[in-house]
């Protein structure tokens, strides 16, 4: 009945230590945002956003992940269907940066092997409290051949850009591998399982 309103669907996950700002990145909530008590109390599970890249309409389904999770408890089911992962650390928190390596190992073990990754050094608005230099962020990203960006959910710096870049990388990868139509079907078919599992089991 309803006509299809998009070309591709990318499922993205936000991963990282507790307190690094994953929920704020998803909420995007800077101080000007209209956050209601009711919604902020129950919390947001995921967002659907539509962007246009290279003439294609792309739906991003972006999932937050629960804070108490530690890398050793996150397994395959967590990553199911994920095509992109935002790996977040806090530039004022050394430990969260050191744990990036552990998160990367966990992703290698459990996620789809061609999942596209990106490292975000969040809270870059707090330069006075910084303990992790930008160079160290860039270096670790380079070592693992993944993208890197410093962001601030609070000041809304590079958040949109980061998601666009990650989506663009996925698009580039998928487009280079198979003819468009084919790729499209695979991704669209993948979505119902992932979304329904998450909705029922999450709470």
């Amino acid at each position: 009945m309803a006509k299809k309103t998009y070309d591709l669907l990318f499922k993205l996950l936000l991963i990282g230590d507790s307190g690094v700002g994953k929920t704020c990145i998803l909420f995007r909530f800077s101080d000007d945002a209209f956050t209601t008590t009711f919604i902020s109390t129950i919390g947001i599970d995921f967002k659907i956003k539509t962007i246009e890249l290279r003439g294609k309409k792309i739906k991003l389904q972006i999932w937050d992940t629960a804070g108490q999770e530690r890398f050793h408890t996150i397994t395959t089911s967590y990553y199911r269907g994920a095509m992109g992962i935002m790996l977040v650390y806090d530039i004022t928190n050394e430990k969260s940066f050191e744990n990036i390596v552990k998160w990367l190992r966990n992703i290698d073990e459990h996620a789809n092997e061609d999942v596209e990754k990106m490292i975000l050094g969040n809270k870059c608005d707090m330069d006075d409290k910084r303990t992790v230099s930008m160079e160290r962020g860039e270096l670790i990203a380079k070592e693992h051949s993944i993208r890197f960006m410093e962001t601030s959910a609070k000041s809304n710096i590079n958040i949109e850009r980061a998601f666009r870049e990650l989506a663009d990388a996925i698009l580039y990868k998928t487009a280079g591998r198979e003819p468009g139509d084919n790729v499209d079907r695979v991704m669209v078919d993948r979505k119902p399982t992932s979304s329904s599992t998450k909705s029922c089991c999450n709470h």
């Binding site: 309803a2 006509k3 309103t5 919604i39 947001i44 659907i48 739906k59």
Partner: protein
Amino acid sequence: MPDCNVNFEAEIEEGQNKRSVKCKFCSSVILTPATAAIMNVEHSLPLIRQTKTTEENPDTETTSVFWAVKDMFTFQNVGFSNTVGNTKYLTCADCEAGPIGFHDIPTKMSFVALSRVSHGDPI
């Protein structure tokens, strides 16, 4: 605001949304034209602005005119809350204003309350 204060008829064309469905607060586009079906269902929704802070007992109002969406990926931009009972509440993806409607998990149908959104041409 009760539903009857607004003229919804003008927004319907062949049973669907004639224009874009947008956030009242930030104009983010929630649905593009002709992607949702008009439906009358009585459903109680927590108010966007709560006067009291009790989480278990939010102020609600009964809403009865909705845009029904079968496939969640029809939405242009939208947020899904964590699950409460059988539902997830819908919010604006850009400013988190909500609930603007709800998603029924068993049927996978989503409903956007006409009284909680604005209608207009996409910018």
